[in-house]
């Protein structure tokens, strides 16, 4: 029910400004962007799609920050594992 999928705005339909052609992984559908009138999307923006409406614009900076955190955790994890392995090697001597 809460199925929301990120999609990329390809074009705003010329004769219907509250509709945008949006693409999700090669599949296109006209999506109503009437809920985003305070900050309308432009082609290239990513939006969250739910039952044929755009609910929100995806904030690419926030997304990058979220990814950086996750990558950072991954790096810290790799570092720790590396440190663990090294310490084991030391123990064996």
């Amino acid at each position: 029910m809460c199925l929301g999928i990120p999609g990329e705005v390809i074009e705003i339909l010329p004769d219907q400004p509250d509709l945008a052609m949006v693409e999700v992984s090669g599949v296109k559908r006209a999506i109503n962007i009437g809920l985003l009138t305070d900050d309308p999307p432009i082609p290239g923006d990513w939006i969250l799609i739910h039952v044929g409406f755009a609910l929100s614009k995806i904030d690419e900076q926030e997304a990058k920050a979220a990814m950086d955190f996750l990558i950072g955790i991954g790096q810290a994890y790799d570092d720790e594992i590396a440190a663990l392995l090294e310490s084991r090697i030391d123990e064996r001597q």
Partner: protein
Amino acid sequence: MRFVDEYRDAEKARALAAKIAALCEPGRHYKFMEVCGGHTHTIYKHGLEDYLPESVSLVHGPGCPVCVLPMGRVDDAIALAEQPDVIMTSFGDMMRVPGGRGSFFDSSAAGTDIRMVYSPLDALKVARQNPDKHVIFMAIGMETTTPSTAMTVLRAAAEGIENFSIFCNHVMIVPAIKAILDSPDLRLDGFIGPGHVSTVIGCRPYEYIPAEYGKPIVTAGFEPLDILQSVYMLLQQLAEGRCEVENQYSRVVPWDGNTVALRAVSEVMELRPYFEWRGLGFISHSALQVREKYAAFDAERHFALPGVRVADPKACQCGEVLKGVLKPWECKVFGTACTPEMPIGTCMVSSEGACAAYYNFGRFSRQRIREVSIESSRA
């Protein structure tokens, strides 16, 4: 798929899992409730629990609008569909929800014109294409979906469409969470907040949870890494002695929500004094109905509804599962009298219900699976 695949990455999951395990106090057990049906579905679909330590359990709450619709309301919807010259339109998830006499699917088999749609706008299209019929849209969903219904009614009004109405069953998540918090049976350490509902209502409506009940809440996205990260953030709050609302899903959820959406909803709809939630009973100010101004689009005003309450079978324990008191397999009728093909209760009906998710995805011995996985990778 961008903004999806990167949040399904197994390596990052392993790293997060390690951090989560490190944050758990030895000897302490943590219980977090994820309220939204979409989260329940993700957790089981991706096998997320495999990444959580034994001391962290996720409990599934009542955030599945299809699951909490009382059987009597389903009967009302079918009665509407069976009116002469009516076309009923509905989301796919509603099609198999059983009422006292069967589901939309069963009614369709008996000849009723019930059509599945992806969007309420598609229902409006059916109305335009069938001027000699009255088209009803089964409007169901939490705050995520309500604005779309409202916008569709506004569009119908603007176009002067006269053969379209909605059967409004939209409900609200905050009163449901409050009902959970007020329940005496429950001991929870925190909440994983609904991601898409929050794109509409924002994060402020949850502030009463830390303020009045002392429980932290993290609004989470729907990819498995989102949920894992939210668990991590909750544990961090507990470890650091904080108790507040945090937004893990900040790439999509604005703190203040979507004011255009909220305006559309309040233009078209108003609060019902009370509404029955299957498994939870009557909750005041927890659901919406169509305002007088838009009465022309209210199916309940056009047609008389049977309005009969249908009691759950005594054996049905959905209420306890919905509140997270019982695990799905602990329900007496789970998997025997109540299965996805023949769902007795709400939790089994929708693919987002806790019981359906567990039955369809998680119904196996984790111990044995670990052994199977190790054998497979050795081969």
